[in-house]
C-alpha cells in the first residue's frame, strides 16, 4: 500500500515516525559497535562516551512515544497504519533496551580497568564476544532494512539468525567457567565478560522481537513457527 493518504499531514506524521525509528536504530547500532570496540582496545575514554551517548537513545524513545500518542489521538489510525504505529512503540522499546546493554558493556569495561589481568587471558573470549557482536550488529542493520522495506521475509531471516548468537554464548559460558576453575583470580574478569556476553545475547533476543513486530506490521500476526533456541547456559551446571 504505497499510495498516499488523502490527508497528506497523516503521511508526514508517519514518515516522521519512521525516520525517528531509523535514526534510533542507527544510534543503537553505533553504540554496540563503539562499546565492543572500547572493550577490545580497552579504551576507557571511548567507553565513557558510550555511557554518555545512551541519553540520545532514551530521548529518541520519548520523542517517538510522544509522536505516537499524537498520531493515535489525531488520526485514529486503522489497519496497516495502526499496525505500523503499534509496531513502532514496541520496536522503539526494544531498541532502547539494546542501547542499555551497550551502555552496560561500557560500564563493565570501565570496571575492568581495576582488574589488571585483561591482557593476560582476555583475548580468546574477547574475540568470541566480538564475533557475537558482529552478528548482532548485522541483525540490527537487517531488521531495520526489513522495517523500512516492510519485508517480512527479511525479518524472518533475522529472527532465524539469533540461533547462532545463542550458540556462541553457550560456548563462551563454558569456556569462561573453565578459566574461573583454573584460577580464582580470574573470577572477577570472567564474570564481567560473562555478563558482556549475556548482554550481547540479550540484544539478539531484542532484535528477534523487533523482527517479529515487523512481521506483525506486514501480516497482522506474529510468526507462527517457534524459534530454535540454542542458549543452554541458563540450564547448564558444571
Amino acid at each position: 500500500m504505497d499510495n498516499e493518504h488523502i490527508v497528506t499531514a497523516f503521511d508526514d506524521d508517519l514518515n516522521n515516525l519512521q525516520n525517528k525509528i531509523v535514526e534510533m536504530g542507527g544510534l543503537v547500532e553505533k553504540q554496540l559497535l563503539d562499546s565492543i570496540d572500547a572493550l577490545l582496545k580497552f579504551d576507557l575514554d571511548a567507553a565513557k562516551e558510550v555511557v554518555l551517548h545512551d541519553n540520545h537513545i532514551d530521548n529518541l524513545e520519548l520523542e517517538i512515544d510522544e509522536a505516537i500518542v499524537r498520531l493515535l489521538a489525531l488520526r485514529s489510525p486503522v489497519a496497516a497504519d495502526l499496525r505500523s504505529i503499534i509496531s513502532c512503540t514496541k520496536i522503539s522499546c526494544n531498541l532502547e533496551r539494546i542501547g542499555d546493554y551497550s551502555k552496560n558493556i561500557s560500564k563493565r569495561t570501565l570496571a575492568l580497568s581495576d582488574t589488571g589481568n585483561l591482557p593476560l587471558m582476555g583475548s580468546g573470549p574477547l574475540k568470541t564476544v566480538s564475533k557475537m557482536a558482529e552478528i548482532v550488529q548485522s541483525m540490527i542493520k537487517n531488521v531495520l532494512d526489513a522495517y523500512i522495506e516492510k519485508d517480512a521475509t527479511k525479518a524472518d531471516d533475522v529472527r532465524a539468525k539469533d540461533e547462532d548468537v545463542d550458540h556462541i554464548h553457550s560456548g563462551l559460558y563454558r569456556e569462561l567457567l573453565t578459566y574461573m576453575l583454573e584460577d580464582p583470580k580470574n573470577i572477577t574478569l570472567c564474570t564481567h565478560l560473562l555478563f558482556v556476553s549475556k548482554n550481547v545475547e540479550r540484544m539478539g533476543d531484542h532484535v528477534t522481537s523487533i523482527a517479529e513486530h515487523v512481521h506483525f506490521m506486514v501480516h497482522g500476526k506474529i510468526p507462527e513457527e517457534s524459534r530454535i533456541k540454542r542458549d543452554n547456559s541458563s540450564s547448564a551446571y558444571v
Binding site: 500500500m1 499510495n3 498516499e4 493518504h5 488523502i6 490527508v7 497523516f10 485514529s76 489510525p77 486503522v78 489497519a79 496497516a80 497504519d81 495502526l82 499496525r83 501480516h219 497482522g220 500476526k221
Partner: protein, 254 residues
C-alpha cells in the same frame, strides 16, 4: 454449526433506468448481528439497504434482481405484500422525521394500522415499552401529548427508533442515523444500539468508520457498486483482506 441467517441476499443487483448501481451482492445477516455497511459516497450501500425492505419499489426505473430472503421467504416474490415486509424490516432515516403528531401518536401510528392493540391500555403499554427501549421514556413520559417535532434532534431520532420498534420488527435498517446529530446524541444512539441488538438484527449504513468499528460486530465494505469484503469488524479494521478495503479505511481512497 453455523447459525441460520435472519436475512440473506443472493446475487442482488440494482439498476436505475438501466444504469447499474449495484451488482452481484451476496451476504448473510445473522440474528442479533449489528452489521455496518461502509464505503465511499455512491458505492451502493444505501441502495442495497433500501432493497432490504423494498423501499426501492417506490422509485421509478429502479430494477432489483437476485434474491433477498427473510427467514427463507423471498421478499421480492409476487405473493409477498411489501407492507408486510416493511413491518418486519423497519427503517430509520438519516434525518429524524417524526410525524407532525404528538409523541404518543408517533409511536401508536404503526401499531394502530397493523391492528396490534385492542385497547387504550395496550397502546399505552406499547408506547412505554417502545420509548423505554429507545432510551427516551424518562425524558418524555410527562409530555407524551406534545408534538414530536418539538424534541431536540437527538430525541427526535430516538423517537423515530421507538416508532420503528413499536411494531416489533425483526430487522432494523438504519441509514446514517447519526449524521445529523451532535456527538452526545450520537453516543446515546450508539449506546442504544448496543441494547437493541439483543432484540433485533440491525443493519446500519454509516459514513463514520469509527462508528462502524465501535457499534458493529460485522462490517461490509462496498465500492463502486460491489460488495468488496465482509467480515468480523475486528478483522476489517485491523487486518482487512482486500487492498481496496485497506485503502478506504485508512483514508487513501474516498
Amino acid at each position: 454449526m453455523t447459525a441460520k441467517p435472519k436475512m440473506s441476499a443472493k446475487n442482488v443487483g440494482v439498476s436505475y433506468n438501466g444504469k447499474v448501481a449495484l451488482s452481484e451482492v451476496s451476504i448473510d445477516f445473522l440474528e442479533h448481528d449489528v452489521i455496518s455497511l461502509i464505503g465511499p459516497s455512491g458505492c451502493g450501500k444505501s441502495t442495497f439497504l433500501r432493497c432490504l425492505n423494498r423501499m426501492n419499489d417506490t422509485i421509478d426505473g429502479c430494477v432489483v434482481s437476485g434474491e433477498i430472503q427473510l427467514d427463507n421467504y423471498n421478499i421480492y416474490s409476487s405473493e409477498i405484500d411489501p407492507v408486510e415486509v416493511r413491518a418486519r424490516v423497519g427503517m430509520v432515516f438519516q434525518k429524524p422525521n417524526p410525524f407532525p403528531k404528538s409523541i404518543y401518536d408517533n409511536i401508536c401510528y404503526g401499531p394502530r394500522i397493523h391492528g396490534m392493540a385492542n385497547s387504550r391500555d395496550e397502546l399505552d403499554e406499547i408506547v412505554e415499552w417502545s420509548l423505554t427501549s429507545a432510551g427516551l421514556w424518562e425524558e418524555v413520559k410527562d409530555r407524551l401529548n406534545e408534538p414530536g417535532t418539538g424534541l431536540s434532534g437527538g430525541q427526535q431520532q430516538r423517537l423515530c427508533i421507538a416508532r420503528s420498534i413499536a411494531i416489533h420488527p425483526e430487522v432494523i435498517l438504519m441509514d446514517e442515523p447519526c449524521s445529523a446529530l451532535d456527538p452526545i446524541a450520537t453516543a446515546k444512539i450508539e449506546e442504544l444500539l448496543g441494547q437493541l441488538r439483543s432484540k433485533f438484527t440491525i443493519i446500519i449504513v454509516t459514513h463514520s468508520m469509527q462508528q462502524a468499528a465501535r457499534i458493529s460486530n460485522r462490517t461490509a465494505f462496498f465500492h463502486l457498486g460491489e460488495l468488496i469484503e465482509e467480515g468480523k469488524t475486528d478483522d476489517i479494521f485491523t487486518v482487512p483482506k482486500d487492498e481496496r478495503t485497506q485503502s478506504y479505511i485508512t483514508g487513501r481512497i474516498g
